[in-house]
Symmetry: C2
Subunit: 289 residues, 2 copies
């Protein structure tokens, strides 16, 4: 099944290609479903259509905050139930985990600054860099995905995409963030993971990562401050960022999928992790309520 899905650019349809209808778009293989906004399932998602159908979508051009599918009354267009992490939604998460490119197609009803005047237009390859959930305008849970455009689409044909974007993101983000705060937190714990106590040792010294609790950037706007950071090993950084683990009110680390207690978050005096950031992470990132 995974082998049938075609990732990356479709030969013959470079960025900017226009399509009169969803039928034409589907026949070209640029976005196969005739109705759904996401072409995806458990094995991954290869394309989306941004058409203004979801009032919660936000289009910034090279960055899109995209709403998942489901829970919607097709007649009124309103949310009438929570969205679930299934079908196209889980497909986008899978593509994020595997750093696969997603073709983005814009329809005429989207943001006027970036959308075609009529029909549909293939607007290049994006990567999913983050997912979370929140209450949408109608009060129900919606899943949200941040998609960021790849700088050079030609580099990302079907078979080739820039290096593991997940890791690249982590590294680059670390560079541009407040290094002194990150460094402070790592030194407080002597590069030991606050979840599992592991201290990765290399010839250059110990290695750990500074993880933000409430994510930086819109719409989360978590602060770049030690009270919003944890010192984690790379494995627990992935699990924390994807919401597979969270910290409960009692400071216990919980497995979101099984509800089991994994460990107790180790903290040192003076770190001052703010409970409200941990709550934000629980409420928006972990996959269970």
């Amino acid at each position: 099944m995974a082998s049938r899905r075609q990732y990356g650019e479709i030969p013959g349809y470079p960025e900017g290609s226009e399509f009169a209808s969803r039928t034409e778009l589907s026949r070209a293989g640029v976005h196969r479903p005739l109705q759904g906004g996401i072409s995806g399932a458990k094995d991954g998602a290869d394309s989306i259509v941004v058409s203004g159908g979801y009032p919660d979508d936000e289009d910034f051009g090279d960055e899109i905050i995209y709403t998942g599918q489901g829970g919607r009354n097709p007649a009124t267009g309103r949310q009438v139930a929570d969205q679930k992490l299934e079908r196209g939604n889980i497909g986008l998460v899978r593509s994020e985990l595997d750093s696969r490119p997603v073709r983005v197609v814009r329809g005429a009803r989207g943001n006027v600054n970036f959308s075609p005047e009529r029909g549909l237009r293939y607007d290049g390859l994006f990567v999913v860099t983050e997912h979370w959930h929140e209450r949408g305008r109608d009060g129900y849970r919606i899943w949200r995905f941040r998609l960021v455009k790849l700088a050079d689409a030609r580099l990302a044909s079907t078979r080739a995409v820039p290096t593991d974007t997940r890791r690249a993101n982590v590294v680059s983000a670390r560079i541009v963030r407040d290094r002194s705060a990150v460094q402070q937190v790592k030194e407080w714990y002597d590069f030991t993971c606050q979840v599992c106590g592991l201290r990765l040792m290399t010839a250059g010294g110990p290695y750990a990562e500074g993880a933000h609790i409430r994510a930086l950037g819109r719409p989360h706007n978590g602060p770049d401050h030690v009270s919003n950071m944890l010192c984690l090993c790379p494995n627990h950084h992935v699990l924390f960022d994807t919401g597979a683990i969270y910290v409960d009110e009692g400071g216990r680390v919980v497995d979101s999928l099984t509800g089991e207690i994994v460990s107790r978050l180790h903290t040192v005096d003076g770190h001052g992790v703010r409970p409200e950031y941990l709550r934000y992470h629980r409420e928006h990132t972990s996959s269970t309520p």
Copy 2:
């Protein structure tokens, strides 16, 4: 000690600033040592000078392959002993582990395409993305560091920056990799780490990383093929890439620092990991001979 070292741009000395001498450069705080090429120690490295002093240095403009310090006869300029992972060398590794920016200063005797005609010039912020060792022209071990220029130096000041513009830079200028090969390897092992057997589970499914054994890109030129890849958890990916673990001829995973056997590399029929790539990794990446 770490707090005295100043990372990132020095106020008043933007990229392109010129200096008549090492004394002037040192007084400005752009590169403090009057002689050494690396300003660094165990806590990290904040600047280097690329001056053509080492015949093994390679300057490609936005990418520099830089030779470590030590083992050199100052009179003849030749290597007379192996370089060790100490002083400035370990500083550059530390900055790589912590993703700290390194100021690059070029001197007049470097590559003619990128060096100033006279004196010294501050050429912006770079990050160390990789380190390894090899035999230099004189037959002794030299440590080598790949430094890649940050796309926008202003993003890497020592202070926090807004996150909005950050992620767009992230995905550019990376080595193009074959996602289908990575995906194949991950699926063979069902996202289970070949070193420790861990399978990280998230709501979107399991997560693992495809690690190249012999690195891609110059000068390693490892192939982007399944025979040169492992399926690893993020922790073992870090340990493998930094040479903290290696796979010996018998397929055992060894801790480079202690010499202890960590585990046995799990492999499935048909994967066909090439022993020569594992040997290349042992000989160039692991920190012990």
